[in-house]
């Protein structure tokens, strides 16, 4: 009973918070007229993905099927799925919107988001594949005390998943409102219901294939918009120089559009942002989970290679899309600029709609419909992946290994996972409604800071440093999680901009430099101070861990000889 009361209180509070935020002045999002081609294409996508879910459900029997698609995904498929997880609607719409407003600065973000991948490749991909089973907590609890390590890793996963979910759900609701003329609340609910269906029935297999299809559609759609806009904006010459020239003539920033500007203000801020972007990727549970869906380390490496290629190409496209949008949408007579309540000219639907409006400018209602459907599909796919990662943290880490101490059968574990999916789906809907008026882009940045400070340090140190102990990992991991969250709350983005409490207590927007340092220091100090018998056993166990990590002998699903 107590739990239910608490839960109700939380729900009521979050709803109140939503109302309070909704009252804030963020500029109105107008509902659009019902877009018929978009709805037809979207329904086709939903139909196809539900078909896949049905097919996947037939093949999802064991826990390994549910969490890791039976380990049967190829490197190329997984590369597309990873790229799909990464190319969220927030990054597609957010980065192209960022380029539309700030020009060159958008590229700084793209570059940071990409360079995490080589690091994952060199230092983590095969290690993860060789040590883990279903979740990254398998890796960090490999030679350590199971209960506290799993609890911490699952908490880190859930915090990241929930933060990421808020961003995605808010993006989903707004997007659907603008694109389909559907009410925000219904939009968010329909997303929630669909992802619950995908994940509970189809598990990782359905989630992966939904992600692969969406990745192909998104890459195809973005290619058409980017090059279509380049063609139209340059009068057919396709010269980027001509595109940039036209953009600097139109944009109020003029030539400043082509160089780094105000987005990254101080050197410390820039370095800190860079750290969060680069190492945050290596701490995202829904991405790390994908390494367990391939059969071996060879395929794990291939998947990172393909993913890096797709993601890099995608970021180049978003850059072109941003500049194309400046040329084709920003002129006052383009028909895409509207006067807002303050009398200022702004893009129809807000800056995040740059890519979508550009689709209409380049390819009319048909391309607009296609891109709208793809954007919605993107949200569904990313939210499914996140939900599965969150549900796995609950069922595999918390339920099976912490509460039941490993004494559960697979069926029970999978059942708990499905229940957790249902709960997370409902939470996602409620959060989507509660945070309706929040800025999508900064939530993604915040998520990366937490992932880089809480999950990444314990993961990398547990793989490479024989002297880490449970105490060190716990100290560092919790400090990283708490400090990154606190710094964000006390920093300029939340304290000053969201809560409106005046000057920030923590002066930096991007805390990763500080919170990551705290986390690594915590791991180091906690480990060297630890003289317990446990610590000695954990040092000794490193040898066996390292051999498995390096060779894959004994790894989950490794082929026998």
């Amino acid at each position: 009973m107590r739990m239910w009361q608490n839960l109700t209180a939380v729900l009521v509070l979050s709803l109140v918070a939503g109302v309070a935020l909704a009252a804030g002045d963020i500029g109105e999002v107008k509902k659009q007229a019902v877009n018929v081609p978009a709805i037809i294409m979207f329904l086709a996508f939903v139909g196809a993905t539900l078909g896949i879910t049905y097919w996947a459900a037939q093949r999802t029997k064991t826990a390994k099927d549910f969490y890791a698609a039976g380990g049967g995904i190829t490197g190329f498929q997984n590369g597309l799925a990873i790229a799909g997880d990464y190319m969220s609607a927030a990054s597609f719409l957010g980065i192209s919107g960022l380029v539309f407003i700030n020009g060159y600065d958008g590229l700084i973000y793209s570059v940071g988001w990409l360079v995490g991948w080589p690091i994952i490749m060199f230092l983590m991909a095969e290690q993860l594949r060789n040590l883990g089973k279903y979740t990254y907590a398998d890796v960090v609890s490999y030679r350590f005390q199971r209960v506290p390590m799993r609890t911490m890793a699952a908490t880190g996963s859930l915090v990241v998943v929930i933060l990421y979910l808020i961003g995605q759900m808010v993006g989903a609701g707004k997007l659907i409102q603008v694109l389909f003329g559907l009410d925000y609340t219904y939009a968010v609910i329909s997303v929630g219901v669909l992802i619950i269906l995908y994940v509970t029935f189809g598990g990782m297999l359905a989630t992966t294939w939904v992600q692969i299809i969406k990745a192909c559609l998104l890459l195809g759609g973005a290619t058409i918009i980017a090059f279509g806009a380049l063609y139209v904006a340059t009068g057919g010459s396709m010269s980027p120089e001509a595109l940039f020239r036209r953009a600097t003539e139109i944009h109020a920033k003029k030539d400043a559009l082509m160089r780094p500007g105000a987005l990254v203000t101080s050197p410390l801020e820039a370095i800190s942002l860079g750290l969060a972007l680069m190492f945050g990727t290596a701490g995202l549970p829904h991405i790390l989970m994908r390494f367990f869906t391939v059969p071996n380390a060879t395929e794990a490496r291939k998947s990172v290679f393909y993913a890096t290629g797709f993601i890099g190409y995608f970021y180049i496209l978003t850059f072109l899309i941003g500049f194309g949008a400046i040329v084709l949408l920003m002129p006052a007579d383009s028909g895409f600029m509207v006067t807002n309540a303050k009398g200022v000219l702004e893009l129809k639907g807000g800056q995040n709609m740059a890519a979508v409006n550009l689709a209409q400018a380049v390819g009319g209602n048909l391309l607009l419909g296609f891109i709208s459907a793809v954007a919605f599909a993107t949200i569904l796919a990313v939210v499914s992946g996140l939900t599965l990662a969150g549900a796995s943290a609950i069922s595999h880490d918390l339920y099976a290994n912490v509460f039941a101490h490993g004494n559960v059968n697979e069926q029970q574990e999978v059942r708990v996972s499905k229940m957790a999916t249902l709960v997370l789906g409902v939470i996602a809907i409620l959060l989507g409604i509660a945070f309706e008026q929040q800025n999508v882009a900064y939530l993604v940045g915040l998520t990366f800071s937490v992932a880089a400070s809480a999950n990444f340090p314990i993961l990398i140190v547990s793989i490479f440093w024989s002297k880490m102990t449970t105490k060190g990992a716990l100290l560092g991991g919790w400090l990283g999680l708490i400090s990154s969250t606190l710094f964000v709350i006390l920093g300029p983005t939340v304290w000053t901009d969201v809560l409106k409490l005046g000057d920030p207590i923590f002066p930096f927007k991007n805390p990763a430099l500080f919170s990551m340092t705290i986390s690594f220091l915590g791991i180091w100090i906690g480990s060297i101070m630890d003289n317990s018998e446990n610590a000695r056993q954990e040092h000794a166990a490193f040898e066996a861990q390292d051999v498995r990590c390096q060779t894959g002998i004994g790894a989950e699903g490794a082929s026998s000889h």
């Binding site: 700084i108 290679f305 180049i316």
Partner: protein
């Protein structure tokens, strides 16, 4: 994993060959990526004007554009270099170790 198997693998010279080759290669590539990326970030932080210069006289495209794209392409190329060596040489060594000890 059984302790005797761990010892058998650890006393295999090919295991040490694999470890030393892969570690130096992986950390070297990681180092190159870090230098490229943080080089870029430090220029953004300390020398915005450098990135803002025109690429050639009279062009609107700045030096920052090819540099930014270059970082993106270098990430892809570096992962490609790693995967091609790891999936041939390192995997072959791993297979030989497995054949010898298992």
């Amino acid at each position: 994993m059984q302790q005797d198997l761990v010892h058998a693998i650890k006393s295999n010279p090919k295991y040490h060959e694999l470890l030393s080759k892969r570690k130096s290669f992986a950390w070297m590539l990681a180092g190159i990526m870090l230098v490229i990326y943080y080089g870029f970030i430090l220029i953004v932080a300390f020398n915005k004007e450098f990135l803002g210069q025109p690429l050639s006289a009279g062009s609107i495209t700045t030096v920052g554009i090819p540099i930014g794209l270059g970082v993106i392409i270098s990430a892809f190329v570096l992962t490609g270099i790693y995967v091609s060596r790891a999936n041939s040489e390192f995997d072959r060594l791993t297979r030989e170790i497995k054949e010898e000890v298992l």
